[in-house]
Structure formats: C-alpha cells, structure tokens
C-alpha cells in the first residue's frame, strides 16, 4: 500500500517542516518545560523571577502522598465511567431508533441532534444554570407541576457533590450524544445489506442478525467512540468548572482537570500543578493507545 506513494526526496520533509517547527515551539517546548516545572519548587516568587529551584521528585512525592489526589482520581474515574456509559448507551439507542422511524421523523431528529452538537459548551452551561436554578428554574417546575414526581419547589441542585455532578453529567451527556448517535447511524447504514438479507434467508432471527451481522461489522465504531469519549470525559473542564461555579470548587468536588487548575493557579504552586498535569497526561496517554493504534492503521492503509 505504502508503495503507491511517491518517494519524492526532500519534498515531503519540506512540506511537513513548517508544522513540525511550529508544534515543536508551541507544544514541544512547553511539554519539556512541564517536566522541568514538575521537578522544581515554582510559586509566585519563582514566576516573577522566571526561575525555579530544583527539588527532584518532591512534587510527585507530595502529590502521591496526598489523599486528595487519590480521591480526585477515583472521582474522575467514576465520573468518566458514568458519563461514557450513558453517552454510549443512549447514543447507540438513538442511532437504532433513527433506523426505525419514518423519514420525516429522522430528519427532525437529525436536525435536533446537529443543533445540540453545535451548542458552544459555555452557552450550554449558561442554559443549564438557568434551567436548574433553585429560584425559578424550569427543571423544578417540570418535576413538581408537570411530571408530579415529588416536591422540588426551590430545590437546590448544587448542594451536594453528588447532586452537582448529576447536573454536570446531564449536561456533558446531552452534549456528547449527537456525535455518537450520528456516527453510529452512519456506520449502521454502511453495514452491507446483502449480509443481513443472507442471514434472513438462512432463517436467522432479528436479534441474531443484529448480534452476529450488524454488531460484528459495526464493532470498531463504538470501540473508537468509547475510547474517544473516555479521553474527553477524563479531561473535561469547562462544564464542571463553570456549572458548579469557579468559587464553589473544593477538594470535595474536584475532578482531575479542576484539581490541577486550582493547585496551580489557585494556590500558585505551579510545581505541584505540573506534577499533577504529568500524572494526568500519563493516564490519558495510556488510555489513548487503543485509539491511536487504530487510527494509525487507517492512516497507513488509506
């Protein structure tokens, strides 16, 4: 396959050179600096002097011995699992529904999905704050007076960590479903019709056809979407930071991203913040291996 590409001498190198140089300067150097920072005592004073004091692995020792880090890690893992699970299940069910509805309903749903997909996260956060506020938020009204599921009059959804993250989860999952649904639907329509028909002729039942034909052909797509979602949700920042509120972030409701943000910028302890960043990047890098390997195959074959 690769043989079909032209050798080209120095031309390809000249073509990729600008991107490589720019990325080296704006990303490579900062990542090198991140490693350096994590080995330094680097606070406000050092920021002004542009010079930190080398302290070896002390920052990592401090972080790894801090129970807060482990609590935050656990909370982030649980948050990620719940959000990815809900996104994938609801998103896939949505795609299966799209196959079954009439054309006009499909058009309606697709338009709605694209509309939701297009909403900027900060805008979505503002809408969520408005809908879920305790004074006159429409959520409390709907729960109390439309669905009659209980008395939620002036109920405060931001009182406990669990309740806060129920709101963050609803926001994140709502925003993430369209991508999953539309991608899975597109993949579903690529399942060769002949395969399904052949299975039908052989007398296979609907569920078996779905399981053995559709799912088998389809599987790589949900796999990719799941690994992408895990990576995204593990590093999510804007939604928890803004919806819970910058002033309401504490050690009892941090996620990994907000944790390192407040350790770094809140406490002005950039060395510790850098150490947490490295630990977080290492976890995400480990999670990305599956996705990158798959995409690399695509890049080589296509």
């Amino acid at each position: 396959m690769t043989g079909r590409r032209i050798a080209g001498g120095s031309v390809p190198y000249l073509l990729v050179l600008p991107v490589v140089l720019v990325l080296a300067a704006i990303l490579g150097y900062p990542i090198y600096y991140l490693v350096k920072l994590s080995l330094q005592k680097y606070g406000l004073l050092e920021l002004v002097q542009h010079h930190g004091e080398y302290i070896g692995l002390d920052n990592f020792r401090t972080v790894l011995h801090d129970p807060v880090f482990w609590h935050v890690l656990l909370r982030t893992v649980v948050f990620t699992a719940v959000n990815v699970g809900l996104t994938m299940v609801l998103g896939t069910l949505g795609a299966l529904l799209l196959v079954r509805v009439s054309t006009w309903v499909r058009l309606l749903l697709t338009t709605g999905l694209v509309l939701v997909w297009a909403m900027p996260p900060v805008v979505a956060v503002q809408v969520w704050s408005w809908m879920t506020n305790s004074e006159n938020g429409v959520l409390n009204y709907i729960l109390t007076d439309v669905l009659h599921v209980g008395n939620y009059f002036q109920h405060n959804w931001y009182e406990t960590t669990f309740s806060q993250y129920s709101m963050v989860t609803s926001l994140v999952v709502w925003g993430a479903i369209p991508f999953v649904t539309i991608t899975v639907y597109a993949a579903l329509s690529q399942v060769p019709h002949e395969l399904v028909e052949a299975a039908q002729i052989d007398g296979a039942r609907a569920w078996r056809i779905f399981k053995d034909v559709t799912l088998t052909v389809l599987m790589p797509v949900p796999m990719l979407l799941t690994s992408l979602s895990i990576i995204w949700d593990f590093g999510v920042f804007t939604q928890p930071y803004l919806l819970i509120g910058p002033g309401q972030q504490t050690t009892s409701n941090y996620l990994m991203s907000t944790y390192l943000y407040f350790e770094g910028f809140g406490k002005s302890d950039f060395g510790i913040g850098a150490a947490i960043s490295i630990l977080m990047l290492a976890i995400v890098a480990a999670l990305s291996v599956v996705y990158v390997r798959r995409m690399l195959r695509v890049g080589e074959e296509a």
Partner: protein
C-alpha cells in the same frame, strides 16, 4: 403483517418525537427566555412560549460593556488561528497523502496523539512559557495556544480530503506536460477546496468555542474572547438577568450553529473515518 409493521413504525415515530422534544428543549428554552419580558422570566409558573415577544434583552446584551470588543477579539483570534493552521497543515497533509517518507508513521502518531491530550493538562506550562515571553493577556499568546490543537486537527482532516482526489487526475495533468506545481494548482486545489472550507469552518468553531485557555490567559475585560465574556455574565448582585444571559448566549451560538449546519456532513466522520472499512 403490514398493519403490524405500520403500527410498529407509529410507535417508533412517537418515541422519536418525544426524544426530539427533550433533546432540543434546552435550546428552545434559551430562545424562548431571551424573547420574554422579565415578569414572565421570573414567574414561578413559566410560560412556555413568550407572550408579547421583546428584543429588549438582545439590545441590553449588545450594549453591555466589552460585548463588541470581545466579539472582535474572538474574530481576530479565530481568523488568525484558522488562516495559519490551514496554510501550514495543507502542506503537511499533501506530504502525508501523496508521499512516502521515513518518519511518516511517527508524524501520524504525533498528529493523532496531540489531539488526545487534555487541554487542562497543558495549561500550566503554556501559561508559564507565555508569561516568560510577556505573552499573557495578549491575543498573540492565545493564537499560539490555539494552534496547538488547530494544527494537528487540520493536518489529519485535510489529509483525508487530499486522499479523496483520484491520483489519475493529477497524473493526467502531468502527462499533458504540466509541472508538478502546475498540476497541483490547476487540478488538486479546486478539487480539495470544499475540504479546505469544511476544515476551516470546523477549526473556526473549535476556536470560537474555546474557554479554558482564553479564560486563563486573558485577564482584562477588553482583551477577552466572547466565551469568557459570556462566562462572567452572571451579575454580581442578587438579581440575575437571565433574559440578557439567554439573549447573549443565543447571539454567541448563532454563528456556530449556522457554520455547523453547513459543514457537519462533510466533517463529522473525520474522527472515525475508515473504521468500518479498515
């Protein structure tokens, strides 16, 4: 048989409509609120559709301090990011799609891998490095930071579009006596133009929506981008002007929604292309 089928479809359609209503309700509620007067907004019993719709909140929003300044800042940052990213990454995309070279695989791994890095994990070193160059609280600093995600994204997406062009067309042009550059300009560029537009628009949307970097790097109100401006729109006092916040939210979402509707079909599968066929 067909009767049962039709009834089944009716059920699925009904379910589809219910899901549609739940799905778009937040967007509807944003629009509806932005058009209501304050009495309807603050009422404990909400009115679903605005009675006597008013544009007052939109007027308030655009006359609020820094609205136009920050829209301008966003426009500068976004346009500069997209322009630089598009030109540089188009060259790299051609190299990836058309040439075999050693280091190609490593380059692909980097391009894909970088897109997976969580932005929060990079904010501290980017901030410190930019602070050392006095680029904190400047739009230049933000543009540089945005390139870290715009470049890899554009390289990967454009690569797909360049690949989509039949090699035979390009070869035919060369047989006709065109040089490689001539073939490139006359054949490749027009064919890949829709892909360039789609990629540009998607990079536009990502940069326009970006929050964490802009929020950390830009401190003064007249230097911020519009998403940061919106995030501060909560009012310091007890009374939160939800009408104005929803009107501003609508205004900020509009360019994204329009652009998104234009290019969604072309680009949405970039992240998983070839997954089924591969």
């Amino acid at each position: 048989m067909s009767g049962r089928r039709a009834r089944g479809r009716l059920g699925w359609n009904a379910l589809g409509i219910v899901i549609f209503v739940v799905l778009v309700f937040p967007v509807f509620w944003m629009l509806s609120t932005s058009l209501k007067d304050n009495d309807q907004i603050s009422s404990f019993t909400p009115t679903w559709f605005p009675r006597h719709p008013t544009l007052q909140h939109f007027e308030d929003a655009i006359h609020r301090q820094y609205f136009w300044t920050d829209v301008g800042n966003s426009a500068i940052v976004v346009l500069a990011t997209v322009a630089i990213a598009l030109v540089l990454s188009f060259l790299a995309a051609i190299a990836l799609a058309k040439y075999g070279f050693s280091g190609r695989k490593l380059f692909i791994v980097l391009v894909i891998g970088i897109q997976m890095l969580p932005q929060a994990g990079l904010i501290i070193p980017l901030y410190i490095v930019l602070a050392g160059r006095h680029q904190v609280n400047t739009l230049t600093g933000v543009i540089l930071v945005y390139l870290t995600f715009a470049l890899p994204f554009c390289v990967w997406t454009l690569r797909g579009f360049v690949l989509g062009i039949p090699k035979e067309l390009e070869e035919a042009a060369m047989v006709d006596g065109s040089t490689r550059l001539g073939a490139f300009v006359r054949i490749l560029l027009p064919l890949v133009a829709p892909g360039l537009v789609a990629t540009a628009v998607f990079a536009f949307i990502t940069s326009w929506n970006e929050f964490i970097f802009a929020n950390t790097l830009l401190h003064s109100g007249n230097k911020q981008t519009i998403t940061v401006w919106l995030s501060f729109l909560y009012g310091g006092n007890r009374f939160v002007d939800w009408g104005q916040i929803m009107a501003a939210s609508t205004l900020i979402a509009i360019p994204v929604v329009i652009f998104f509707l234009l290019v969604q079909r072309r680009i949405s599968f970039g992240l998983t292309t070839g997954a089924v066929k591969g």
